[in-house]
Point group: C2
Chain length 344, copies 2
């Protein structure tokens, strides 16, 4: 690999001059500068950034830990985070923990503080102890979407009001006249979606319709999860609307309805939370409560860089803008007659 | 940050002993070993992997350059590549070039050979000159899905027979009796899909049905691209089947048909290429030609590691298994009467 001194020799200048040109420091004449850059290009030289970063006590990348890169929400978040990082001259390493805390810990052990000097965590099933150990080692940690703005987690975070997201879904279905509602509760035992479900129930109670939920099913947070649970939930034709705590099972519910010949939204309303790309692309397009994904990603990167620059900031919590109801084609006024299955 | 000598002091041993324990080298008594590991844990010490990697002349990560992490194919490929890399003790940095060769070059300049000692390229719109410059700098480059097994690109690659993929789609539609076929040609001006379209046409010619293609539209390689072109293609009711060079525009075509009240597969057959997750999840589920995505990802990582270990290997081309037709619910025997639009 080409060295600095080879570039200097090729350009007929000192190594210090090459260094000055590359760092845009010191006074270097325009002609000399051009000669140095030509030598850099000719020899394919590149300053050894990692070595420099180590010498200066910082690494050029940030790490993003995600639970499952195959869940389309995470690439959307990663894209926004990566663009925000690049605007600050940083690269983003995407680490996939596969929902496994041990893999997550292995990534933290290997990467945090060495390859990356900051870690952004998106629901990666990491243990709080592991994250605090990472902080103690000198690599700031930010939780990218903390779900309870009123209960700071003791780690730096960007909060999103998931309780409100659930409440907005409830108010929409009640306003459309639905009183027989099923819930697809995604996220399994970890209860990552519990704040959303609580918001839904709390809004029903406020509106005097606590008894409107007639079915609750825990499902895997995926299209397949919504599809298999959906078939079961729709079997007796009781519910007129379904609230899924995430878009993926909501999309699965649309498929379950299609398989059973149940028309959405004429016979069944379906609403999700998040507003992933597939929600907009579905037929019928999915009504959902949009989370501020891009904003939360950009705020998380900004907070991480602040903490790297100033480790004494403590554990600040920033709050992203409120979730918003996005009405599309999958919800409508409750049908006058009860839902019936077509005989085909 | 904790240093090696602080760990040594805490454990009451020399720095050399700590180093031996962490590298599992030299003879260290069990009791001493336990004391060192306890000190490592208590102080949160972690060997400075990047520094060590630099000293040993290698970096612990591989870089994956993708055109657009928002296109769901790339996360699926990235997931498989990341798992293959992890099995070899490597981490994968995912770099998103946003279809922009200049961003791609900036990533190569910053990362290749320093943070990562190998680069896997997936259709990231990188210039061949930039990739060859990266090689000259000592970082091997592998093209993750080279589309022409019979024309090696002069760079190490894993080839996938895209020509065959197109041919399989053509044979399927002809076997079903379709003689009025439209093509949604994705990928725009870069002609990344041209091998697939050529395979389609060549197979039609072999079967004596060169005149079966009655419409060709160039579309953006996305659901939206297929949706807007699909509406136009279906307007005159001429085509009975549509071949899209990628699953995303094929899915858009399903939406366009739904919007027009055209039943798939009764009135219109649709076939794509790739077999992304959404193809399986669509309603109707999409017939497609499955590419060996996971295998190509694993082979690419293996080839990259071989090249890192042995830079004199040259530019080998490995070939992944053949694409395979996957018949689902979006294709059927051609309807007896010509396609008509419903009046609603």
């Amino acid at each position: 690999m080409t060295t600095l001194s080879q570039v200097a020799q090729h350009a007929g200048v000192t190594s210090a001059t090459v260094s000055n040109v590359l760092r845009q420091r010191g006074k270097v004449g325009e002609e000399t500068r051009a000669r140095v850059l030509a030598a850099v290009e000719a020899l394919g030289y590149r300053p050894h950034l990692t070595a420099r970063a180590l010498a200066e006590g910082s690494a050029p990348t940030l790490a993003l830990m995600v639970a499952s890169i195959a869940n389309p929400f995470y690439p959307e978040f990663a894209l926004a985070a990566e663009q925000a990082a690049r605007q600050h001259g940083r690269f983003l390493i995407v680490c996939n923990t596969n929902d496994d805390p041990d893999i997550g810990r292995a990534y933290l052990d290997q990467i945090a503080g060495t390859l990356s000097d900051g870690v952004l965590v998106m629901n990666a099933k990491l243990r709080v102890d592991d994250l605090k150990m990472t902080q103690r080692r000198g690599a700031p940690v930010v939780l990218g979407m903390w779900e309870k703005p009123h209960e700071p987690p003791g780690l730096p975070c960007v909060a999103v009001d998931f309780h409100l997201a659930g409440a907005l879904a409830a108010r929409h279905l009640i306003a459309l006249g639905h009183r027989k509602i099923g819930i697809l509760f995604g996220g399994g035992a970890s209860c990552i979606h519990s704040e959303r479900e609580r918001g839904f129930h709390d809004a029903l109670a406020e509106l005097g319709h606590s008894d409107a939920v007639v079915r609750i099913m825990h499902v895997h947070d995926s299209v397949e999860g919504g599809l298999s649970a959906g078939a079961e939930m729709l079997a007796d034709g009781l519910v007129t609307a379904v609230f899924a705590t995430n878009d993926l099972p909501a999309l699965g519910m649309l498929h379950a309805a299609a398989d059973l010949g149940i028309k959405v939204p004429q016979q069944l309303s379906v609403i999700g939370i998040t507003d992933i790309q597939s929600a907009r692309q579905a037929r019928p397009a999915l009504t959902t409560v949009a989370l501020p994904t891009e904003q939360a990603a950009a705020m998380s990167i900004a907070l991480l860089l602040e903490l790297i620059a100033n480790p004494s900031l403590g554990s600040p919590m920033r709050t992203a803008e409120a979730p918003q109801l996005v009405v599309r084609a999958s919800t409508a006024v409750v049908p006058k007659r009860r839902l019936k299955r077509r005989s085909d």
